[in-house]
């Protein structure tokens, strides 16, 4: 599955309607299949990140809070929802294997990486390993806000 965590929805509503402080930067991190994120997942420390070597940086890649990194925002009246997509992100294995990639998660920028709130998570549906020289590109990571 994929979705917003409860903590993520709480955080987003707080920012929009109660002027809570928004993250300056988000992070897109990769997690293994050891622990599946759910709506109840709160922080990055609750998941098992992909080992930070050979091209994957522990705690993820910075995602700026702007229209460059969140490059597509659509009001979809046909399906009664709004859609927000991230630009494409690519990781390339260099010098070894990046193993056991299953989930991508978007976090806030808490100074303590393990305490970063997981706002949104995506299940890639397969366990992916990148051999030396291979790359993984994630396209159209999408967030949908729907009227049920």
């Amino acid at each position: 599955m994929a979705g917003f965590t409860n903590k993520g929805a709480f955080t987003i509503l707080g920012i929009v309607f109660r002027a809570a402080t928004a993250p300056t930067t988000f992070y897109l991190a990769l997690a293994t299949n050891a622990v599946a994120p759910t709506a109840d997942t709160n922080t990055l420390s609750e998941l098992t990140q992909v080992t930070g070597s050979f091209g994957y940086t522990t705690n993820g890649t910075a995602v700026a809070r702007n229209a460059t990194d969140f490059d597509t925002l659509t009001e979809n009246d046909s399906n009664d929802r709004a859609e927000l997509q991230l630009k494409d992100y690519t990781w390339t294995a260099a010098g070894g294997t990046i193993a056991n990639i299953r989930y991508a998660v978007l976090t806030d920028d808490n100074a303590t990486p393990g305490s970063r709130v997981i706002l949104v998570y995506w299940d890639l549906g397969s366990l992916i390993s990148l051999a030396d020289g291979q790359s993984l590109t994630l396209q159209n990571l999408e967030l949908r806000l729907s009227a049920a």
């Binding site: 599955m1 917003f4 890639l124 549906g125 990148l130 999408e142 729907s146 049920a148």
Partner: protein
């Protein structure tokens, strides 16, 4: 570079592609978007009323 082979699927807009060093595709897949629902206030109110009425009877 080899273009993604999987057709676009509006229900699974997220696409991932593993490429070899020469750009050929080794593996690819699609995934669901992250979504949440905004509960309609009138429906929620309506359900609450029905629930209250059933408890009264």
């Amino acid at each position: 570079m080899e273009k993604p082979l999987l057709p676009l699927d509006p229900t699974k807009p997220v696409r991932w592609t593993v490429r070899n060093a020469d750009g050929t595709i080794a593996q690819e897949g699609t995934a669901l978007p992250a979504f949440t629902f905004v509960e309609k206030l009138n429906e929620a109110t309506s359900e609450k009323k029905e629930e209250d009425q059933s408890q009264e009877t």
